[in-house]
Amino acid sequence: MSVSAFLTDATLCIGCKACEVACKEWNEVPADGMVWSGLSYDNTQSLGASTWRHVMFLEQPQTAGPQLANTKDPFRWVFLSDVCKHCANAGCLEACPTGAIMRTDVESVLVQKDVCNGCGYCVVACPFGVIDRRPDDGRAFKCTFCYDRQKAGLIPACAKACPTQSIQFGEIGELQERAKTRVHELRERGYHDARLYDPQETSVGGVHAFFVILGEPENYNLPPAPEAPSAYMKSAWASALISAAIVFAIVWLAFVL
């Protein structure tokens, strides 16, 4: 099978949350509470064990971007549907001690729920804060990339329900090209802070869900330089090895002296 990817485009998103609804319904993801956050219309707030698509609402003092009618102040209202990045070098997958998290044939990252024993290590291994443990269930959950649908030749539920093609699904190379063209086009049309968020230069090594955004990645809680924990492994183990050798020597000395 070919390599799948999501291209999520903030400049096309209208904040309708059809993706959140479709995802919940198709994947039978349980409700996880509702709070009035006061943060624009974002009462979802973040991705989590029971939120696999999350629509963000950014209110910014900018002129270039989706504008409101009847307002003179520079103000734009940007929306973006966040999702698991399905990293090329996935922290959660590397960390998983049971092998429950696996790489599929479409190169997505999948949690096998019949294997996961809820150790919680993937939760601290994800540089994007995507995967989490469901308190009542005990296991870790995240976006499945609708692997079941992909196997049946269908596109993921969120992409299918998106009314504006803000969520596009397809072959990774083709979507990367489309994203570059889109950013170029947006810049030509005066959206000078349009950019592609696709961290390839760090240890994450590229993602299977990239984003066209306006402004800084930080404003979308997208880490500017995400590192997979594998980047820290060498220095941490080296330190452990050296200090263990010192401890061995000190314990011997204590009994020789």
Binding site: K17, S40, A161
Partner: protein, 336 residues
């Protein structure tokens, strides 16, 4: 795709409903007032970027017990090899065995699905410190059990080349796996996406090992082994804790904020004083059996609290996206 027809129609319905009814601009809707605007390189309304650790009280306690058990096995081996102190070897092996018995219980209790604990041994992954740890614990328990069983047989008059050989092999492998057990927990939390943990990944393994050394020595002192070796080791561990405590206190980077502000910081400081200068001064100034026992209790308390403080620091760090952004921007600009 007949079987999927209804669900596909439902997805179409969601899309139509979204397009028809909830276009915010089309409906003339504005943002919730008053607008809370995001400027410059601020994060997203200050919401966390990474998830906080979900581990409960069992995990830091496991770090503590595992460290003591691991270094006890090293002491058992060293006592046998150089000290020729059979009583200490025996007691240290029993401490290691007792620890090795408690550790799995703590780890299983923390699982979201405790009944599936055996899945930990479904695969062996060198790239996952959790997997390395699970296997190390299994190997350690086995080695220490063999060493202890052979040792007890020898003490009961079954000393022959076979039991002696087995006890040596068990003690040696127990010491090696014990070192891994006491050190890997620093890698376990250091090599993660948690900002304060990964930032301190080089200091964490020695910090946890020092706790294991002082903890093992202190436990044996409390069991009555007020010998020079436990005094030296208790002294060395308290010295290491003191130096590391100064190091953490002086690293004022934003990523270390959980070590300087809030609940985690105060736990960390109080624990650091108990295990570091507190235990050190007690050993230097109060040279008696009671003084050494007090120093041991002081160190054990501090070292246990330090592990809780590290977990709480991780929770606090996950809630501080500003520090994460600053560090990542710096890392990116220096790599360009």
């Amino acid at each position: 795709m007949n079987s999927n027809k209804a669900s596909e129609e439902r997805l179409d319905e969601i899309r139509r409903e979204a397009a028809d009814k909830t276009l915010p601009f089309g409906q003339g809707q504005g943002p919730a007032t008053p607008p809370r605007q995001i400027r410059g390189r601020e994060g997203y309304y200050g919401l966390p970027v990474v998830k906080a650790p979900v581990w409960t009280w069992e995990v830091p306690l496991y770090f503590f017990v595992g460290g003591i058990a691991g270094v006890s096995a090293v002491m058992a081996f060293a006592a046998q090899m150089f000290g020729r102190d059979p009583a200490l070897t025996r007691a240290a092996l029993w401490v290691a065995m007792f620890g090795a018995a408690i550790c799995p219980l703590l780890l299983i209790a923390d699982l979201g699905r405790p009944a599936r604990f055996l899945n930990m041994l479904r695969v062996a992954k060198i790239q996952s410190p959790m997997s390395v740890g699970a296997w190390t614990l299994v190997a350690f328990s086995g080695c220490v059990f063999v060493a202890l069983a052979a040792n007890e047989l020898i003490l009961r008059g079954y000393g022959n080349p076979i039991t002696i050989g087995i006890s040596w092999a068990g003690e040696f492998t127990g010491a090696l796996t014990g070192l891994v057990l006491a050190a890997y927990t620093g890698v376990l939390i250091g090599a993660t996406a948690n900002p304060v943990w990964s930032h301190n990944r080089r200091a964490l393994p020695p910090h946890f090992l020092a706790g294991g050394v002082g903890g093992a020595a202190g436990t044996l002192e409390l069991l009555g082994f007020l010998i020079p070796a436990t005094q030296y080791l208790g002294f060395a561990a308290a010295l290491a804790e003191t130096l590391l405590g100064v190091h953490f206190e002086l690293s004022r980077l934003p990523l270390n904020r959980p070590l300087h502000h809030g609940k985690s910081a105060w736990t960390f400081r109080i624990a650091g004083v108990l295990a570091g200068p507190g235990a050190l001064l007690l050993r230097l100034l109060w040279d008696s059996a009671a003084g050494r026992r007090t120093a041991a209790v002081c160190f054990l308390t501090g070292s246990l609290l330090i592990r809780y403080a590290w977990i709480w620091a991780g929770v606090a760090s996950a809630k501080d996206p500003g520090a994460l952004f600053e560090a990542q921007r710096k890392a990116r600009s220096s790599s360009l």
